[in-house]
């Protein structure tokens, strides 16, 4: 009886002690797009208290129409951002001192879509066609593929919607499988009315979502970053097993951010993103993956010095 009493007193006192010690570390994470199921794992980790359990106080800061995640990182408003590998490396080429601390995705969701009515059935048919491509910064890979095949196409920069494609302003649209492809479907075009070209089928299965920090942040907050990556993996694993729950969280976040949302689209996105992330927790960037993207960008910046894999990928776990 006495022992239990002492134990309780000890536990009470120590809770104060550790409470003072474990002051949660503040981290700001900025995904590279508006709220959507692409970032579900981070929302779940926050919602389920995985970050809190890891001693972190994480704020998720979404970019807006005027400010992107990169700007948040550079201005110091965000500690961690998510970027496609090609964007991360592009920034590095352009002198931003950022490093990849975890490569979550090892698959490419990039694809070209054309309406079957335009008779585009193979890459050869791309000749002389207009291809829509986002202005937001990962056009390098699609362009690399088209260049490799020496196709004569005209690129039409697009901000975000698929409307120009739907109205036949362009013949081909570059889309993400988990996002715009389904938007096209949800605008009334059936899958059998579309020709699809997955870049992964043409040797460009380039990794996409990864986490980036400034070199300084890595030096200062390595433990916290490791905790963030671990907790985020936990979030993704939980999301994979609890999709309905996850979907509700995603929709709620979109609603709060006044972003148009519908369940059908987010469900599609969550399923596809989880498929692309599989196996979850495999966060090491492979040398070969890096090399392919590096060589694509090197073509663009022949004069710039090479980025070394060891300098670029600095895993925290």
């Amino acid at each position: 009886m006495k022992t239990i009493k002492y134990f309780l007193v000890l536990a009470f006192v120590s809770s104060f002690y550790f409470g003072v010690q474990a002051q949660p570390q503040k981290l700001v994470f900025s995904p590279h797009w508006m709220p959507q199921a692409q970032f579900a794992g981070y929302y779940v980790a926050e919602e389920m208290g995985f970050y809190k359990d890891a001693g972190l106080d994480v704020e998720i800061l979404h970019p807006s129409a005027s400010v992107n995640a990169m700007q948040f990182l550079q201005s110091g408003q965000a500690d961690i951002i998510s970027l496609f590998l090609v964007s991360g490396l592009d920034n590095r080429f352009n002198g931003v001192d950022l490093v990849n601390i975890a490569q979550f995705s090892h698959n490419s969701a990039l694809m070209f879509v054309a309406k079957k009515t335009s008779n585009i059935n193979s890459l050869k048919d791309f000749n002389g066609k207009k291809i829509g491509i986002w202005r937001s910064g990962f056009e390098e890979i699609p362009k690399a593929l088209i260049n490799e095949h020496q196709l004569d196409v005209s690129w039409v920069p697009i901000l975000s919607t698929v409307n120009l494609f739907l109205l036949d302003g362009i013949d081909i649209m570059t889309v993400m499988w988990y996002n715009e492809y389904n938007q096209i479907y949800l605008s009334g075009l059936n899958e059998d009315e579309l020709s699809t070209f997955f870049l992964s089928d043409y040797g460009y299965n380039t990794p996409e979502d990864g986490l980036y920090v400034l070199q300084n942040t890595l030096n200062e907050k390595k433990d916290a970053l490791q905790a963030f990556v671990e907790a985020s993996i936990k979030g993704w694993q939980y999301a994979e097993k609890n999709r309905d729950f996850t979907l509700d969280i995603v929709i709620e976040r979109m609603r709060q951010a006044n972003v148009p949302s519908n369940k059908a689209h987010q469900q599609w996105m969550l399923d596809k993103v989880l498929e692309l992330l599989n196996p979850i927790g495999e966060t090491a960037l492979e040398n070969e993956e890096f090399d392919q993207v590096h060589s694509v960008l090197k073509n663009q910046y022949p004069e710039k010095p090479d980025v070394l894999f060891e300098d670029f990928f600095r895993p925290v776990r």
Binding site: A65, L159, T161, L166, L167, S187, G188, N262, A264
Partner: protein, 644 residues
């Protein structure tokens, strides 16, 4: 009410027929009404949608003219680029529906203006402001409102959007390509736009209602809801995403038809349950679509309500009908019950039973008259019957007495002559129902001569019985005076034949046995030949020759036959009541069976033989009514030895 009463049956029949008729009429009416309502609803829904469409177009078309006019005037070179912002301001000022107007030029269209040149006038806080847009954070060239009309070289209605910072107003932009004359060429120069609030349109669409919960909605070219009773749908969900979320491919089908600019009126089941009707059509200007939807059951709500009332009325009507018919039928049929009661009393013999009063002059009155007639006739008939029965009973009683007298004339004590061991005799006469004419007799003429006879008078009844009595009486009186059977028969025949006006006759067998010698003298008058049963067991019908019955011809000469009887020889005599005894199948007992039976039991004594024969006859007739007297007589000669 008892199930087998007349009123029950009438009510059930009337009820069934009436109810069936009601159901039939109601069904026909219901089907017809449904069809009419369905068609009327369709017309109504289409009209609603088309009115709505016309009003929306009425709103939009004048607005479309603004950038078109502006575009045309710019092309004609009326405005200097620096005055454009005032022109735009005037447009916004003069058109309350317009929230903003712009003229966005192609990159470096005016060298001195740089990459971007986009004068813009907009309404905010009840004032009109002007500004120049375009920067590296507002690269308008890549925005849908610019890029799409620029590439398609066609005016373009943008997808609706929420105006950021503009009080969450749902807006849409109408964009028109602008051209200029440069070096005598028509070159594409940029896009002129107006931003309009969709509030008026959405209010218009939202105000439409049909039936109880039917509504109208508007969707964009991409299928996204612009108006919907469920606010969470607006700008979030599309007809295609709902098709996925609700597992309703039909919505996708409708959406695709709308994309193709088709209009249609059709039904679908909302999430596999409620059936709904929808009419949808495309707006010419924006290519957005409007639809009118209503649940089927609401369309028929008034009909269902009315049906319920009609059913209630029919039910009440049928109930009233039942009560009415019960009352009427009971009133009409009540005398029947009384008649039945009266008939039961009459059947018990109370012919004076009063009949129920009938006031109507219908079949019931006829029934009463028939009953009255029946009462009268029954009374008369019963009176007659009583008289007849009394008479009959009197006659029957007299006949019974006659029969008793007749039977009493015949000797009944057996053995008849215990002191006379040479001969033994047993006889029986079983009368039929009526008094018959059979007879037998035996007596001693003197110490040596034993006389026995059997006969059968023609016909039946009292005359036969009287004739028989006469025959027997005559026989007794004559037998004393003559020694031989033929003499006796001659006299007897003569006596009977004289004054026999009724032509009656009697078949007769008469035998005289000389006790000392065993010699038998006998004469037959048309009677069945008796059986001779020898002591050695040999049995045969006795030789008779031909003869006629007594009483027919007074001069007829009967012959005498004789035979020597040995000790133990027997004679079995009988009337035709034996050989002609009938069973239910009208089969006669027959002389063959008679012969066989006697031959089989030749050793039996006189009493036993008659007993056996009686059994045999009973077996044959098997309870069938006896129609003639059955008379049998057996004589045995015991011979002289017994004397010692």
């Amino acid at each position: 009410m008892k199930r087998n009463t007349l009123s029950f049956r009438i009510i059930i029949n009337v009820l069934l027929i009436t109810a069936s008729l009601f159901v039939l009429i109601l069904s026909v009416y219901y089907i017809y009404a449904r069809k009419t309502i369905s068609e009327a609803s369709k017309v109504y829904a289409i009209q609603l949608a088309e009115n709505m469409e016309a009003r929306i177009e009425q709103e939009l078309q004048p607005l479309e003219k603004l950038p078109q006019m502006l575009s045309a005037t710019i092309e004609m070179g009326f405005f200097h680029e620096d005055s454009l912002v005032q022109v735009l301001q005037t447009i916004v000022q003069n058109n309350p529906s317009v929230y903003g107007a712009s003229m966005a030029f192609e990159p470096y269209f005016f060298d001195h203006k740089g990459l971007y040149f986009m004068p813009y006038a907009y309404r905010a806080s009840d004032s009109i402001f002007t500004t120049y847009l375009g920067s590296n954070t507002y690269e308008y060239f890549y925005m849908d409102w610019y890029q799409i009309p620029a590439m398609l070289r066609k005016p373009y209605w943008s997808e609706p959007y929420y105006d950021e910072g503009g009080g969450n107003i749902l807006m849409a932009t109408y964009a028109v390509p602008v051209y200029s004359r440069r070096d005598n060429k028509r070159v594409f120069s940029g896009i002129t736009t107006i931003d309009i609030s969709l509030d008026k349109l959405t209010d218009l669409v939202s105000s439409i209602s049909i039936f109880e919960t039917g509504y109208a909605f508007m969707i964009t070219r991409n299928g996204v809801a612009v108006t919907h009773p469920d606010k969470s749908m607006i700008m979030n969900k599309s007809i295609f995403s709902n098709a996925e979320d609700w597992g309703m491919p039909v919505l996708r089908q409708i959406g695709r038809e709308l994309l193709r600019g088709e209009s249609n009126f059709r039904s679908y089941n909302l999430r596999g349950k409620e059936k709904r009707w929808i009419y949808y059509t495309n707006l010419n200007s924006t290519r957005w679509s409007i639809a009118v939807v209503y649940p089927e059951h609401e369309m028929y709500a008034s009909l269902t309500k009315m049906n319920r009332l009609v059913m209630l009325l029919i039910f009440a009507g049928l109930l009233f009908l039942v009560l009415l018919i019960t009352k009427i039928v009971n009133r009409l049929a009540s005398p029947l019950v009384k008649f039945a009661e009266a008939a039961r009393l009459i059947a018990k013999g109370n012919f004076e039973t009063p009949l129920p009063e009938v006031k109507t002059k219908d079949e019931m009155l006829e029934l009463r008259q028939a009953f009255m007639q029946m009462q009268v006739q029954l009374t008369q008939y019963i009176e007659n019957l009583k008289q007849t029965t009394a008479d009959k009973e009197k006659i029957e009683s007299e006949l019974r007495i006659a029969s008793e007298i007749q039977l009493s004339m015949i000797p009944h004590s057996f053995p008849p002559f215990p002191d006379l061991p040479q001969v033994d005799l047993f006889a029986s006469l079983k009368s039929a129902k009526e008094v018959g004419g059979d007879l037998y007799d035996f007596f001693l003429i003197d110490n040596d001569k034993f006389c026995f006879a059997i006969g059968d008078v023609s016909g039946k009844g009292v005359p036969a019985s009287l004739f028989m009595a006469v025959t027997r009486t005559l026989l007794r009186s004559i037998a004393d005076k003559y020694n031989t059977p033929d003499d006796i028969m001659k006299v007897l025949n003569k006596s009977l034949a004289i004054n026999n006006d009724s032509c009656m006759f009697v078949t007769f067998f008469l035998g005289i046995l000389h006790l000392k010698t065993g010699e038998l003298f006998y004469t037959n008058a048309g009677h069945n030949p008796p059986l001779y049963i020898g002591g050695n067991g040999q049995t045969k019908f006795m030789e008779m020759g031909t003869s006629i019955p007594l009483g027919l011809n007074e001069e007829y000469a009967y012959t005498c036959l004789n035979t020597q009887m040995q000790q133990g020889d027997k004679i079995f005599a009988y009337t035709d009541g034996v050989s002609e005894a009938e069973n239910a199948s009208l089969e006669l007992f027959g002389e063959k069976r008679l012969y066989d039976c006697i031959a089989k039991h030749h050793n039996a004594n006189t009493r036993e033989i008659i007993g056996i024969m009686n059994n045999e006859i009973e077996q044959h007739v098997d309870g069938y009514m006896q129609s003639d007297d059955i008379t049998m007589l057996t004589v045995v000669y015991n011979g002289q030895k017994r004397e010692n």
